[in-house]
Symmetry: C2
Subunit: 127 residues, 2 copies
């Protein structure tokens, strides 16, 4: 996997994502960045961070793309992104439910490469 340069923008954006316990959209990251860098740079840094596999993205039911940091598993096995993301319709926060992996059986001759599982509803804080 190709590693890109460690620039200040990249470091700052990764910090924002890692400090958040919920997934963030490009717009939310921009708001948190306090105009530290350009909108366009955020788009490009997010793409870089994804190719490096330090963050992953998901989509909410309304099509908004959100980013969250990847948590490495203890055993060093490459983590999967097949966990469920929960989007609270009241507080709007998107949380990674790292330990909830759905099971299912694909029909014959389908080859899965990526998965996105998003639920919406009410989170414990808004219940």
């Amino acid at each position: 996997m190709k590693i890109t340069r460690n620039t200040t923008a990249k470091t700052a954006i990764l910090e924002i994502i890692r400090n958040s316990d919920v997934a963030l959209s490009h717009t939310e990251i921009q708001a948190l960045s306090q105009n530290f860098c350009d909108r366009v740079t955020i788009y490009r840094v997010l793409n870089r961070l994804m190719t490096e596999d330090v963050i992953h993205k998901m989509v909410t039911l309304d099509g908004t793309i959100k980013y969250a940091s990847c948590h490495d598993l203890d055993n060093g096995v490459p983590h999967s992104h097949n966990h469920i993301h929960f989007s609270c319709e009241k507080c709007q926060l998107v949380t990674c439910l790292e330990n909830v992996s759905p099971t299912f059986k694909l029909p014959p001759n389908y080859v899965m490469k990526e998965a996105n599982f998003t639920l919406s509803g009410l989170c414990p804080n808004c219940l």
Copy 2:
């Protein structure tokens, strides 16, 4: 549930969606509609069809929203939209896998209202 008026635009758009065996985006529906009606009307009709529960939407991994008709179950029970959608990365087609419902266990105090399960990979035609 509120039923909206059966206008020619609504009928035509529903026809397009029902005649397709894959889920369609707003842009794709517009292309298929041969400029039968305005872009804005398509947005509004799609929203109406969703409130009437005759179509449902999903999001692909890149955030594109796609629409597909709802298939009623034999027993008359309101169908769920918790089936998996498969997005082929080669031919770009999004298919509803109606019979594949994932099972999972939500943590306590989460209340699920909607679900979106999207996989990407290769479909049987592109394998």
